[in-house]
């Protein structure tokens, strides 16, 4: 291995995983080459309508990341490109990247779309799943980055006959089109490679009994996403593509191309249950009439965080029907309907007709990715997924090459994002010596001093395609804004958030000498930072800006009242214009950054996280409340893939103890916390104080102590963990009958969540018993078997090996009784429809994973981080920020976040390291500066603000006889200001004067 490593990483695939990994790496000191085969970054997310379980608009939550990634100085976005070869060794690879000719120069293209209007060739639009047409010159989707067109060489007439066409060339004012462009091959030096090429949807036409492609109105779930999407082929209007009729009855068929060994897709695709429920719920919302929705399924696998509640709500509140069955055939019915023939659990054959049937197609690896992996010598599993090496989360068989996202196995967005950050974390650890060697720093033009200038406001009103302009009369709003005080420019933008609009805004700032900017578009929560960046690039302080929301809070909520919505939009614009006129530049506050880390929890997650950050070169303090490291893993013996957990654990503990960058504190808890990101001081129970810049919470969870099924009364009733120890000790080698009961303490009214791992764990246990004593009878009493992903193979194996699965329902739980010879379990079998009595030697309870409530509540207060209803820690965003808290500088991983298996915990621990590194890499902490300010002359030092401040950021100074604000701690909430009777406190960026100015616009 060479001594000098390269401080850059090649990220293959620019879906959400690629974008997240790129951002994490670029923010923590590494240069990124982001290689994407399509003409735009974004992957599958832009094509999805809403995302579960938050129902956030997929595009809306993604687009800020697209923009951040697209404009990041240290991310080299290479679209229409692919990795064709890789040589070298970990730390020093040479990557050959081929960039196919786009035939449009992205640097010149303004994305205006004139070319596409002129292009005579209509092609099925892949982005819309072929439900609509695009042209041969096209942009992948409206908000695409780069916001540039590309030519589909295979469809363009000019490529067939140079004289045949050329209309686009004439239409393009920017002279961006060049049919002579050639493919390029570049050689890049990179230290590591992260593979995240994503997935392909299963081709449903391969299973002819579903009638896809033959029976009209049988569509795939991805097609349905596009139908639901406001940016889709029907503008979000729920209709059947075949005859454009509004369906009144829709069915979803689960496991199409999943859990199907005959078709070599034996695995579970993990995401389909949730996306189908979501589609059903959203479809009901989109439908004007009462839409009947039914989901035909085998097991409902809503195992993720907040999923079970979503499922329950869909069932109980939204009235989605769930039909547990086996579908045999889909045939054409009358009037374009689809007839489903299926069998219920009891074997009875049923028929039902639907206006439309959605096939919940599974995920499979992308063909090109498989080929590439084979070429690079990357090992794949039997399904050609690049499954990560056991207990690594993201490692491939090749060091320095990592895998994340759906290519490593079917998974949803948060897990994909987690893995992406984890891969970034591993790459950061590998390349730490080269950190910062290849990155560039962004330089902004000097800030214009606007003090004393006459207000010159520019107003930009966004059409958001038709999202706003379809309801609000945008030209009318633009004209209205022209008359408002201080406004010198008022204009409209088709997409204000697009790259070219940003450029135009910058030009307008220069041309019209603007010193205030108002954009009327969507939510400041998602887009304000992006526009503020535009201001900075134009040399204006980013706080001389106001974003008013005429989409989410106007056009979208007043769709039937265009005139009134227009009036409201005008008022909102006026309020923003009035507010921005009084805006003053706000300067960020810079503070020193402590680069040490505190990891709370010495389980596998905490240790993995600590180790990664230590390898990155940071000093880590690892605090464990027990006397020994290891956490709950000390009770595990067999990994879900057969790993030797104890061996792994001992090795991990050993690594921790050997690492000079890690200081371990055992038998300690957190007693007090002061400070904030970059400057925490945490006091341990023995009084020791640790100063650190970043906190990682990895406090784990516990096994639920059952109250039911005679647990604690009969010594033969055990939890799975207890059983596992007994198996390892050989105590069960002579057993004849074992009953494992699922969902003990999970999925009930007290703990409505699924504990996620117990199904797999029980099956693993059953197989272990069978392995040691093949003649033993093992029964698993379950509600849904949730062996997601490749764990489905275990389920298949268990059934093959004779493990008996009996389903029970929540309202008819198994009954465990002491009888003379031992234990009797009575359960009602849904296949037979009558009670079954099982006499058993041992009962294993799949006991829930429960959070340490008091401990979590304590830490929640100390670090000002929230808990969810189940008392697990609640991340900043369930979808896209799975290991972050909204409190800066605090991260989490492992079971403290929610139930997960060891593999997933390891991945999450690395992800938290990857994310923490983005903070640790900074030389200074920069606080936005929108803090409270005290006018000493007005202050009467009454101390009300001091008492009321939740951030403890303001204090009365005895000498000054006035309150003083600690800007670093101040969150700018304004509680002090509103409780200050003397009017001595104002809040930067949201002053009393500004609010009054808004109110005066009424």
């Amino acid at each position: 291995m060479s001594t000098k490593r390269t401080g850059s990483v090649l990220v293959l695939g620019a879906g959400i995983a690629g974008i997240q990994a790129s951002l994490d790496l670029a923010e923590s000191g590494y240069y990124v080459h982001l290689v994407e085969s399509s003409p735009a970054i974004g992957g599958v997310m832009p094509a999805l309508d809403k995302t579960f379980p938050t129902n956030d608009c997929s595009m809306c939550i993604l687009s800020p990341k697209l923009v951040d990634c697209g404009r990041h100085l240290n991310i080299n976005v290479m679209t229409t490109s692919e990795l064709i070869d890789l040589e070298g060794e970990p730390g020093n690879y040479k990557a050959k990247v081929k960039t196919r000719a786009r035939y449009v120069d992205p640097a010149k293209c303004t994305g205006c779309g004139s070319c596409t209007e002129e292009c005579p060739v209509k092609v099925d639009d892949d982005f819309n799943q072929g439900l609509s047409k695009r042209k041969a010159i096209y942009k992948q989707y409206a908000q695409a980055y780069p916001n540039a067109y590309a030519i589909d060489k295979n469809k363009c007439l000019k490529f067939k006959n140079a004289k045949a066409c050329g209309k686009c060339l004439k239409a393009c004012q920017a002279e961006a089109i060049n049919h002579e462009m050639e493919d390029e091959i570049n050689e890049l030096e990179v230290g590591a490679v992260i593979l995240m090429p994503g997935f392909d949807a299963y081709d449903a036409s391969k299973l002819d009994y579903y009638g896809y492609g033959k029976v009209p109105n049988v569509i795939t779930s991805l097609e349905f996403e596009r139908i639901l999407s406001a940016s889709g082929p029907f503008g979000g209007h729920l209709i059947r593509p075949s005859d454009e009729k509004e369906p009144k009855k829709i069915a979803w068929i689960q496991c199409v191309g999943s859990r199907n060994c005959k078709n070599d897709h034996g695995y579970c695709s993990s995401v389909c249950c949730m996306y189908s429920i979501k589609e059903a719920v959203i479809a009901k919302e989109h439908s004007e009439h009462d839409l009947d929705t039914a989901i035909f399924y085998m097991d409902m696998r809503t195992y993720g965080k907040e999923f079970e509640k979503y499922y329950n709500r869909a069932q109980e509140e939204q009235g989605v029907r769930f039909v547990r069955n086996r579908v045999y055939e889909l045939t054409e019915g009358e009037d374009g309907s689809v007839k489903i023939r299926y069998a219920l659990e009891d074997g009875s054959i049923q028929y039902e007709e639907f206006d439309m049937v959605v096939l919940s197609v599974g995920l499979e690896p992308k063909g090109e990715a498989v080929e590439l992996a084979k070429k690079l010598g990357i090992e794949l599993n039997q399904y050609n997924f690049c499954e990560a090496k056991p207990l690594t989360g993201i490692n491939t068989n090749k060091e320095g090459i990592y895998v994340a996202g759906a290519f490593s196995g079917p998974r949803d967005i948060p897990e994909t994002v987690m893995q992406a950050s984890a891969a970034a974390g591993e790459a950061q650890a590998l390349l730490s010596e080269a950190k910062g060697t290849l990155t560039k720093a962004k330089e902004y033009p000097a800030e214009t001093d606007v003090a004393g200038e006459i207000i010159r406001t520019g107003v930009f009103v966004c059409h958001c395609g038709i999202n706003i302009a379809g309801v609000v009369d945008v030209p009318n709003v633009v004209d209205y804004a022209k008359e408002l005080p201080g406004v010198v420019l008022s204009t409209n933008k088709i997409y204000a958030c697009s790259q070219d609009s940003s450029g135009q805004i910058k030009e307008a700032i220069k041309e019209h000498n603007l010193n205030r900017v108002v954009v009327a578009s969507c939510s400041p929560r998602t887009h304000e930072p992006m526009f503020q960046e535009t201001l900075k690039e134009a040399g204006l302080n980013p706080h001389l800006f106001e974003l008013t929301n005429i989409r989410d809070q106007c056009s979208w909520v007043h769709m039937d009242e265009p005139e009134k919505a227009t009036e409201k939009a005008k008022d909102l614009v006026k309020m923003a214009v009035n507010k921005v006129a009084l805006a003053k530049p706000v300067q960020p506050v810079k503070l020193d950054m402590n680069h040490d880390v505190l990891v709370i929890g010495g389980g596998v997650s905490g240790m993995t996280n600590a180790l990664n950050l230590a390898e990155q070169g940071y000093q880590v303090n690892l605090v464990e409340k027990e006397q020994q490291l290891g956490g709950i893993a000390r009770r595990l013996h067999y990994g879900l893939k057969g790993e030797d957990v104890q061996g792994y654990l001992n090795q991990l503990i050993n690594q921790i103890e050997q690492n000079n960058n890690i200081k371990v504190y055992t038998g300690q808890e957190i007693a007090d916390v002061n400070g904030f990101v970059g400057n925490f001081t945490t006091t341990l129970t023995d009084g020791q104080q640790i100063e650190h810049g970043v906190t990682v919470i990895a406090t784990g969870s516990q096994e639920y102590q059952p109250q039911e099924y005679l647990y604690g009364e009969n010594h033969r009733v055990k939890t799975l963990l207890e059983l596992e120890t007994e198996i390892a000790d050989g105590q069960l080698d002579k057993v004849n009958n074992v009953v494992l009961i699922q969902c003990v303490g999970s999925r009930d009214s007290e703990r409505p969540y699924c504990s996620r791992i117990c199904c797999t764990k029980s099956i693993k246990t059953a197989l272990k018993i069978k392995e040691r004593r093949p003649e033993a009878k093992v029964y698993i009493l379950y509600r849904d078997i949730r062996t997601y992903g490749f764990y489905e193979d275990l389920y298949t194996e268990a059934r093959q090996k004779g493990v008996i699965f009996i389903r029970y329902s929540e309202d008819n739980k198994p009954v465990v009784e002491n009888v003379e010879d031992g234990l009797r379990v009575t359960v009602t079998d849904h296949v037979l429809g009558e009670p079954v009595e099982i006499y058993t030697d041992e009962i294993g309870l799949a006991s829930a994973i429960v959070p340490p409530v008091e401990n979590n509540q304590k830490l929640s207060k100390f670090y000002k981080v929230p808990l969810n209803e189940d008392k697990f820690f609640l991340e900043a965003h369930l979808k896209l920020r799975p290991v972050d808290f909204s409190t800066e500088g605090v991260f989490m991983c492992g079971l403290s976040h929610g139930p997960k298996n060891l593999e997933e915990n390891i991945s999450q621990a690395k992800a938290a390291a990857g994310r923490a590194a983005t903070v640790l890499a900074k030389d200074q902490i920069t606080v936005e500066g929108k803090s409270a300010v005290v006018d000493k002359k007005k202050c009467s030092a009454c101390g009300t603000c001091e008492q009321i401040c939740p951030a403890k950021a303001i204090k009365v100074d005895e000498e000054e006889q006035a309150a003083v604000v600690n800007e670093a701690l101040c969150k700018g909430c304004g509680a002090c200001s509103s409780s200050c009777r003397c009017g001595a406190i104002n809040v930067k960026g949201c002053t009393d004067e500004q609010i009054m100015a808004m109110l005066s616009a009424l």
């Binding site: 008359e483 009035n578 005066s1000």
Partner: protein, 335 residues
Amino acid sequence: MIINKSEIAGLLDNLVKEYRVYAPVQKDGIVTFEQINEGTQAKPGATSKKPPKEILFPQSEELFNYQVDSQGLRMEDKIDDTKSVAFGVRPCDAKSMMLLDNVFHNDEYEDVYYTTRRKNTLIISVGCNQPASTCFCTSVGSSPFDTDGSDVLLTDIGDSYLAEAITEQGKEFLCKLNLPASDDQAKTKAEETKKQAQLTSEVDTTGIKEKLDDMFDHPYWESLYEKCLGCGACTYLCPTCHCFDIADEAKDCAGCRVRNWDSCMFPLFTLHGSGHNPRTSGKERWRQRAMHKFNYFVERYNASACVGCGRCIKNCPVNLDIRQVIADIKAQPLE
């Protein structure tokens, strides 16, 4: 001329048709000068809580409106030239109007808002048969039947008033009313009434102007203001106080310029835009009040800016008595 008390209401009813009529009105136990619509509303002979100076110089007055839009700036003056009658003014309050004339209409300045109203307002006073214990008009150059500032003076002679025209306008006005002429008996009764109106309160103001000339830096001011709360009750209820403040009340590009009474007792009084205030505490403000009334005003207009109505004495929340202040000033030794 004679006005029978029983005919007052009818008389006022007639006046209301032609004039805007102000008269003392009692509401909720408090007498204020208000525009009346019917004669029965009036309570002549009552002394108002707030002096009638606001008829000429309202507490809050819109001077002009303005608007800026694409057509430029437009302004609209708000000058009030309605013919008015103030009925039932006390002689001290009428006198105060004469003092105010000095301020609002002099060689250097004419306040068009005030003078327009003044020109169009007829003052009909009612003399004081029974001055209150807080009255000290005679100590400051006035009296219960002072005619200064009035156009017509009424004297309560039991069932009726004796009306005397003081000015030409008063004479014309009385002529128009077609009232019976006053007989000798009434005249005699009026004379007696005037004589009987004795004040119980007196304060010696002789030489106070000269005394104050030397007292600007006197330590007396240090203690004077100590119990003062700094409210504006005394100044707002004073018939001669006339300080005002101008404020723009704007909403977007339209607004209005408003003139409001100010009070030297307020911390905001004479506060500069810079934040500096030459009168930082109650001490300077109280000195200003005393000086203005008994020194500066005397120097400028040859009369003290106090008519001895006693309102400030009655209404001070902490019983800070101006008579005592005058006495104290007189008693202070000079260096």
